[in-house]
């Protein structure tokens, strides 16, 4: 079971790494932590377009503050 849990952890890590690489290639601007949270939301059943919209709105709202 230890081996199994380790392997599943490895698999999850690898999958998220792969997604992060994709995310970087597409210049989404999400770091790993945020991306992980987003994946959790998507797993819960949130529509990806809805989540993308939320993030875009949040970025838009905070852009003046960051600038």
């Amino acid at each position: 079971t230890t081996t199994a849990s380790e392997s599943s952890t490895n698999e999850a890590r690898e999958a998220l790494d792969c997604l992060h690489e994709l995310s970087q290639l597409l210049n989404t601007g999400l770091d790993k932590k945020t991306l992980t949270a987003c994946v959790r939301l998507l797993e819960s059943g949130v529509h990806p377009d809805a989540l993308a919209q939320i993030i875009q709105v949040l970025r838009t709202e905070t852009r003046p503050a960051k600038v």
Binding site: A15, C18, L26, R40, S44, H47, D49, A52, I55
Partner: protein, 938 residues
């Protein structure tokens, strides 16, 4: 919806904090409306693959249009890699993967501006994988150097890997020309080989676990291992923790072919062996090893159930042996199918994957066969101590149930697996039945048949018909319906066969086909079953005794005469020979499946298995049983002339055809009336019988009837003058003892004795005349009429009349009862449906009726005693009369009258309940007759 939002709120808060730095709480959530609107708005919208694919395609085209082909390739590579990995317990290419991809694509911001240099390591991996020739490397021939990417600058690691590969590559011939000499293996491989602790497995197509495999087979095993061994070095190349699916397929094949365990391993750079936990497949479809192991070890365990059972050389009975024989054939077929897969795996132009391997197992029906085996061994426990008869019945019941189930769900693989097993399990029953009906002998040395012959009841025993055969199983409801419906006829026929055999008249058609062959024919014709040939029972039995398991050539489609078994021929290229000679090819399986599909879709429902078996049992088994029963019936009726003997018995014992017995009886009565003070003796009886024979011109020696007189051991005071102890002896053929038993003859004897007594009473009364009051005594008469003796004569006359009336009533009752019963008996035997069992029943009923007529029933004991008393009164009265008029006194007559009145009154009271009966019966007639005595008040 609010609950859903509440559940995801913490994660949303995290994201908001990451992006904006704001900490949200329940009281402070300026984005609540945003969340609700966005999420609720799309809550019922699904993520569709085609949209995602379209978006990805759009991106790629964008890259290509802007001359960024490498980015497009990298995008495709990364998406594939991502899709092929499980994500948070979701399997690859799940909906979550689609959602993530859609999410990222939606958030893409100016992807054209991204620098590729930042992803150089990925590009390198992508190029490597794209250019590597997996199939060639796996199959091990014409190995080619991997083509390095032009963009890749640093070749050092690649060179090292190449060297390693070069050091381990083996120059092989093509698979067609296989050299069988031992190939040298290098140190690394030797080490790997020993560290894995592998055994060279015996050939799977031998079907037995023996140590003395041919050298050629050893070489093959070694060659296989050597060929496949180098694929482990792929682990060095790609990932220290990966193995190829090819290894998994190879290992699984060995596992399914009854090897000990699955070896899936990897070897790291330090040449250490590790259990692999991840499989990287050559079609870039990674599957967790646990999933593979789960599927294949389940199948392997299922096959192991059969293999463990088949390892037992001796079985408890022939049915189980026959079942084991067919199961072995099925397992051999499975092994051949696996060998066929192995052959495909070695082909050059075929890239084998786990998925295709599993699909092929499924298409050949091996997955289903594993399920079948599991079903059988779940439902039957061969190791539990139980009687053979219960075990065999349970086996047949379970197999039959599964055959019906597979037919009902229209699963042809199940059906084709279970049906031969079912047939082979039934064959012993059919062989036993065949032998029983053909030879009259229930040969069941292992006591596996559900009917048992009681050895302590011989065929000549009186209770043979009722006690000889019993059903000996614990649960008779397990007997299949098609067999259970004929069990009563079967038992009857078996008894008939045994009787006919003991009478030496059992005949059989010499050319009749065995039940087993007919059984097979019925099923072959209707279920498209391959022709089955049966190893004779004796051979099975002998092989059991010799503890040898020989490969049996039961069907040309299953067994092979493989040339490579010739172990002396070292140049035997058994690979090519074996695989080329395998006859159970997939098209054949497909044809069978196609035909059975056509049959099963037929509207005519009578072709189902239950109807087929019912038809078989009615048309074959039941017909044979009926033939035997009819044979015995005809033998009894015609050869043994049963009805003729009954007719004689009726004539002799029951005075039905009165001539002979009437004359004999008259002689006895006459003798008795002459010897007033003496009784009958043996001499008198024999002389009377002989003179009657002479009168009718009959030969004493050939006549079936003779007479015996047994002297009374005690003198009977009340029945002093009634004929007793005269017995008839009738020569009945001993074969008829099955119907007419000795105790029945005793009943006839008692009936004869009673009739004799009734007729004696009638005779003595009939003989009484007032002879002394004839002409020569007219003078005396004149004087007498003037005296009071007239009254005496009158009383005597009256008493005689009354006695005669009573005796006639009894005589009528007895003879009417006998005659009616006899006529009913004859009428029943004229029916066409008569058989031995009904003959036994009718005869017993006949005897019951006779017993009633003779008042032999316990309830009639009182009446009989009174009738005996009546007969005694009659005989005393007659003797008094014959002593002479002068010796009779009115007191004597009065006394006799009183006794007669008492006797008659008693009988009337006992018979009174019969008076109101509506049905006219002899007993009612007797009751009426004794009731209507006008002189009873006197």
């Amino acid at each position: 919806m609010s609950n859903f939002l509440k559940s995801i709120q913490p994660t949303l808060n995290e994201i908001v904090y990451d992006l904006t730095g704001l900490t949200l709480s329940d009281r402070f959530n300026p984005h609540k409306k945003l969340f609700e609107d966005a999420i609720i708005h799309r809550s019922n919208v699904n993520v569709e693959k085609r949209h995602v694919d379209k978006s990805v395609q759009g991106l790629k085209e964008k890259y290509i249009v802007h001359a960024q082909d490498k980015k497009a390739d990298l995008l495709e590579f990364l998406i594939k890699r991502f899709n092929n990995r499980p994500l948070l317990k979701h399997s690859p290419e799940s909906e979550l993967h689609l959602s993530c991809l859609q999410f990222i694509i939606s958030l893409a911001r100016r992807p054209l501006d991204v620098e590729l240099d930042d992803f150089s390591h990925l590009v390198h991996e992508q190029v490597e994988e794209a250019n590597f020739n997996w199939p060639v490397f796996l199959l091990g021939n014409d190995y080619q150097q991997p083509i390095a990417s032009d963009d890749y600058q640093d070749d050092e690691s690649l060179t090292d890997d190449d060297d390693r590969i070069d050091s381990t590559s083996i120059q092989n011939d093509t698979i067609v020309d296989i050299e069988l000499e031992s190939k040298p293996i290098d140190d690394i491989e030797q080490q790997n080989y020993s560290s894995l602790d592998r055994e060279i497995l015996t050939s799977y197509w031998h079907g037995k676990q023996a140590d003395d495999v041919s050298p050629a087979l050893r070489n093959f095993a070694l060659f296989w291992d050597q060929t496949m061994m180098k694929t482990t070095h792929l682990a060095y190349r790609v990932n220290a923790q990966t193995v190829t699916e090819y290894i998994l397929i190879r290992e699984t094949l060995w596992l399914l072919m009854n090897s000990n365990e699955l070896h899936v391993y990897s070897i790291d750079e330090n040449e250490q062996v590790h259990v692999a936990d991840f499989v990287r497949l050559c079609d870039v479809t990674p599957v967790a090893i646990q999933e593979c192991l789960q599927k294949f070890t389940l199948l392997s365990n299922q096959f192991q159930l059969a293999n463990r059972f088949l390892k037992k050389i001796t079985h408890s009975c022939r049915t189980v042996s026959s079942f084991a024989q067919t199961l072995r054939d099925q397992m051999t077929l499975i092994h051949f199918q696996l060998a066929d897969i192995e052959k495909s795996v070695l082909q050059q132009n075929h890239t084998y994957t786990i998925l295709s391997f599993y699909q092929q197992l499924d298409s050949l029906g091996l997955i289903s066969k594993g399920e079948c085996i599991e079903r059988i061994f779940d439902q039957i426990f061969f190791d539990v101590e139980k009687l053979n008869c219960d075990l065999t019945l349970e086996l047949i019941h379970v197999l039959y149930k599964n055959v019906l189930m597979s037919e009902m769900i229209n699963n042809l693989t199940f059906f084709n697996f279970f049906l031969p097993l079912f047939i082979s399990s039934c064959r012993i029953y059919l062989e036993i039945i065949q032998n029983w009906l053909a030879n009259g002998n229930l040969d069941d040395p292992f006591e596996e048949f559900f009917i048992k012959r009681k050895t302590d009841v011989s065929v000549e025993a009186l209770d043979f018909w009722h006690q000889s055969y019993t059903e000996q199983v614990e649960n008779a409801s397990l007997i299949p319906r098609w067999l259970a419906s004929i069990v009563p006829s079967l038992i009857k026929a078996g008894k008939c066969a045994e009787i006919l055999k003991s009478n030496s008249v059992l005949t059989n058609e010499e050319e009749s086909q065995s039940f087993v062959e007919k059984f097979s024919q019925y099923l072959q014709a209707n279920c498209n079953l391959t022709k089955q040939t049966w190893t004779p029972l004796t051979i099975i039995h002998d092989s059991e005794m010799n503890t040898l398991v020989k490969p049996l050539k039961s069907s040309p489609l299953i067994s092979l005469n493989l040339l490579f078994d010739d172990i002396d021929n070292e140049r035997n290229s058994f690979l090519a020979l074996a695989f080329n000679q395998m006859q159970m090819s997939k098209p054949t399986l497909l044809d069978i499946t196609h035909q059975q599909l056509c049959l099963s879709s037929s509207i005519n429902q009578s072709s189902n298995i239950e109807c087929i078996l019912q038809t078989f049992s009615e048309q074959i088994l039941l017909v044979k049983c009926t033939q035997l029963i009819n044979q015995l019936t005809n033998d009894i009726l015609h050869r043994l002339s049963y009805l003729k003997h009954i007719e004689y018995i009726r004539n002799f014992f029951l005075f039905e055809n009165g001539s002979f017995m009437h004359q004999f009886a008259l002689r006895l009565y006459a003798k008795l009336s002459q010897t007033i003070h003496e009784r009958l003796d043996a001499f008198t009886v024999l002389v009377s019988f002989d003179s009657t024979l002479t009168m009718f011109g009959l030969d004493k020696i050939q006549y079936p009837l003779s007479v015996i007189f047994q002297s009374a051991t005690e003198s009977s005071i009340t029945q002093k003058y009634i004929i007793q102890n005269v017995q008839l002896k009738y020569d009945l053929p001993k074969e008829l003892v099955i119907i007419v038993k000795p105790e029945h003859m005793e009943t006839y004897q008692k009936c004869f004795a009673f009739v004799l007594q009734v007729k004696q009473a009638k005779y003595v009364l009939d003989q009484l005349v007032f002879s002394e009051f004839r002409v020569k005594n007219r003078v005396r008469n004149r004087r007498l009429y003037r005296h009071q003796s007239y009254q005496l004569h009158h009383e005597m006359f009256l008493l005689r009349a009354r006695l005669l009336h009573a005796v006639n009533a009894v005589n009528n009752f007895v003879l009417t009862t006998f005659h009616t019963a006899g006529e009913q008996f004859v009428e029943k035997h004229s029916a066409k449906s008569i058989d031995i069992e009904s003959m036994i029943v009718y005869h017993e009923k006949f005897l019951i009726a006779l017993a009633i007529g003779s008042l032999l029933q316990p309830k009639q004991q009182a009446i009989r005693e009174q009738l005996m008393k009546l007969f005694e009164i009659v005989t005393i009265f007659a003797r008094r009369w014959q002593l002479g008029f002068d010796s009779i006194k009115i007191e004597h007559i009065n006394k006799l009258k009183t006794e007669f009145n008492q006797t008659k009154q008693f009988i009337s009271i006992v018979l009174k309940p019969f008076l109101p009966r509506m049905i006219d019966s002899p007993l009612r007639a007797l009751a009426c007759a004794l009731q209507d005595d006008f002189y009873s008040n006197n």
